[in-house]
Amino acid sequence: MKKIVVAKTGNEAMAEAMRQINPDVVAAYPITPATEVVQIFSGFVADGRVDTEFVPAESEHSALSACVGAAAAGGRVMTSTASQGLALMHEVLFIAAGLRLPIVICEVNRALAGPINIHCDHSDTMASRDSGWLQIYSENSQEAYDNTIQAMKIAEKVFLPAIVSVDAFIISHSMERLEILPDDEVRSFIGEHRKPYDLLDIAHPITLGGLDLQDYFFEHKRQEIEAMKEAKTAVIEVGKEFGEKFGTSYGFFEEYRMDGADIAIIALGSTAGTSKVVVDTLRAKGMKVGLFKIRVFRPFAFEEIKKSLEHIKAIGVLDRADGMSSIGGPVFHEIRSSLYESEKRPFITNYIYGLGGRDIFPKDIETVYRELNEIAEKDEVKNLINYIGVRE
C-alpha cells in the first residue's frame, strides 16, 4: 500500500480524513481554531471532490441540530467545532447520543470563556464528558487523522457519536509530517454506512424524538449506558484492525517506557509527546520513569488502567482542565477512582497545567517527575493538587 507523506497541520489532517470518509452531510459553523477544518472541507465540496451535502448553519446549535436530522434520516454525518461552539452544541450533544446517532465531531480543544481566550486547554471537551459521546484525544496531526477515520467506524459499530480532538494551535495549526492512506483503503476500512434507523425508509416508519417519560426513558438510557460499555470492545477491535491494515495499532492508552517504571505521568494530547522527551532524558540518567498517555477518555477503561498502573509507586496526573470541583481535574478523578479497588494503591497527585494555552516545557515535566520520585522515596504526598507554571 502506498502511503503519501505530506506536511499538514492538525486541522488539515482532520479535513483530509473527512474528505476520504466522504460523509453524506456536514453541517457546521466556523470557530477559531477549528475554522480551517470546515473551510478546507467546504473547498472539497465546491471542487466536487466529495459527495457531501454541506449545510452552513447560523450557529453551532443549529449545525449539530442539522447533523442530528441528517443522521436520523440515515446519513453518515460529520462536523467540526471548538470551545464555545461545543458549548453551544451542549444541549444537542445529549440528544444525538440519546437518539443513538453515530455523528463524528472533529474538535479543537480550546479554553472556554471567561475570561475570553482562544488557546488550548481541555475545558471544552471535559465539560461534555457526560454527554454520551466517545472522546478520543490526539497527540499530533497523524493521530488526529488516524483517530478521525477510526472514530467513524467505532461510532457506527455501537451507534454512539464520537468526538476526536486536537490541542488548539499546538496541533491544529502546527505543520507536521503526516502519512495519508489511499482513499479507497480508507473507504474500505470504514465500510458500508451502518445506520441505527432510517427516517426516510417509509416502508418501516418509526417515531423519533417522542415524549419518553417515566415509563420508558430509563430503559432507553440503560441501553445507552450498555452501548458505551460495548464501545470499549469496538475501540479495541477497530484500533487493532487499523494496525493490521495500516501499521499502527491503537488502544485506550499508550504506555511509553512503562516497563519497570516506578513513577509515571499521565497526560492527554500534545503534552504526552513533550513528556516522552523528558522520559527519554531521565531514563538515560537511570531514573525509572514512564508516561501513560490516555487516548480514549470516553468510554473510560477503568479495569485496564487499574491493571496497568497498580504496580506504580507514584503517579502524577496532568489535567489541562480543572473541573472546579475544588479537588482537582477530571482525569485525576477517573484515575483515582480506577485504582480504588487495587490492593496496592499507588500515590496519586494532580497537576493542573496549561489553562488558556499556558505553555508547558520539558523542565516543568521534569519537575513533576522529581516530585513524584520524592513521594515514592518518602512514602508521603505533600500536595495533592498542584498547579504548573501559574503565578500566585
Binding site: V6, A7, E139, N140, S174, M175, E176, S270, G273, V277
Partner: protein, 192 residues
C-alpha cells in the same frame, strides 16, 4: 549534527514569516526529514512584530512546547532589531541571519552582539530585482541554506518550485522570480 534543529523567524505581519516557516518545513520534509512548522498566534496586524518557528530532525519529533532557545534566528525586517532583542535565547554558537544591506560587522557593532555567527543578506533589494516587490521571505530561505547547510539546496529549489507552480498556476513569472531570489540570496549572503 544536533538531534533537533530549532529555528525562529522574526518578521512583521504581512511579510511572510509564517509562509517562510511552512515553506522550509515542507522542503525539509521532501528531503526526508521530520518537521514541525508553526506560527506564534496572537493578535495579527499588518506591520506588527510576529514570529514563526521550525523544528527539523532526522528522527520523529514528539516535543510540542514552544521554541525558546533556537539554534538559528532569521530577521526579515531589520527595523525590528531596534525594538526587539532578536538574540533572546539564541544559542551562543547559533546563527543570526538578518535581512539588511549592512555587513555582519556593522550589525555586530551597531547592536553590540556578543557571540553568535552573524550573516546578512539584502533580501529587500534581491526581491525587488527578482519578484518586483519587497518580499524578503523566499530570498532569506536561500541565505539560510547557504549559511547552515541544513538542506540540499538543489533539492529544496526543486521542491519549492513544484509547490509554487501548484499555488501560482498560470503565473509563472511569480514562481520564476521567487526561485531566482533564493538563488541570488544563496550567492550574495555575507558571513563573518
Amino acid at each position: 549534527m544536533k538531534e533537533i534543529f530549532e529555528i525562529r523567524w522574526h518578521g512583521r505581519g504581512g511579510q511572510g514569516a509564517k509562509t517562510a516557516a511552512l515553506l522550509l518545513g515542507d522542503a525539509a520534509l521532501s528531503t526526508g526529514k521530520y518537521i514541525q512548522a508553526f506560527p506564534e498566534y496572537g493578535p495579527e496586524r499588518m506591520g506588527a512584530p510576529v514570529q514563526s518557528f521550525d523544528r527539523l530532525s532526522d528522527k520523529p519529533i514528539t516535543i510540542h512546547s514552544g521554541i525558546t532557545n533556537p539554534d538559528i534566528v532569521i530577521v526579515l525586517d531589520p527595523t525590528l532589531m531596534k525594538s526587539i532583542d532578536v538574540t533572546d535565547g539564541l544559542a551562543e554558537d547559533g546563527h543570526l541571519i538578518i535581512n539588511t544591506h549592512k555587513s555582519p560587522d556593522e550589525i555586530r557593532k551597531e547592536f553590540n552582539i556578543k557571540g553568535r555567527k552573524i550573516a546578512t543578506c539584502d533580501a529587500y533589494k534581491i526581491s525587488e530585482d527578482t519578484i518586483g516587490k519587497k518580499i524578503p521571505n523566499t530570498p532569506m530561505l536561500g541565505a539560510l541554506i547557504k549559511v547552515t547547510g541544513l538542506l540540499d539546496f538543489e533539492k529544496m529549489l526543486k521542491d519549492t518550485e513544484e509547490k509554487m507552480q501548484k499555488k501560482f498556476s498560470g503565473r509563472p513569472e511569480i514562481v520564476k522570480g521567487n526561485i531566482e531570489s533564493m538563488k541570488r540570496a544563496y550567492e550574495e549572503v555575507k558571513q563573518e
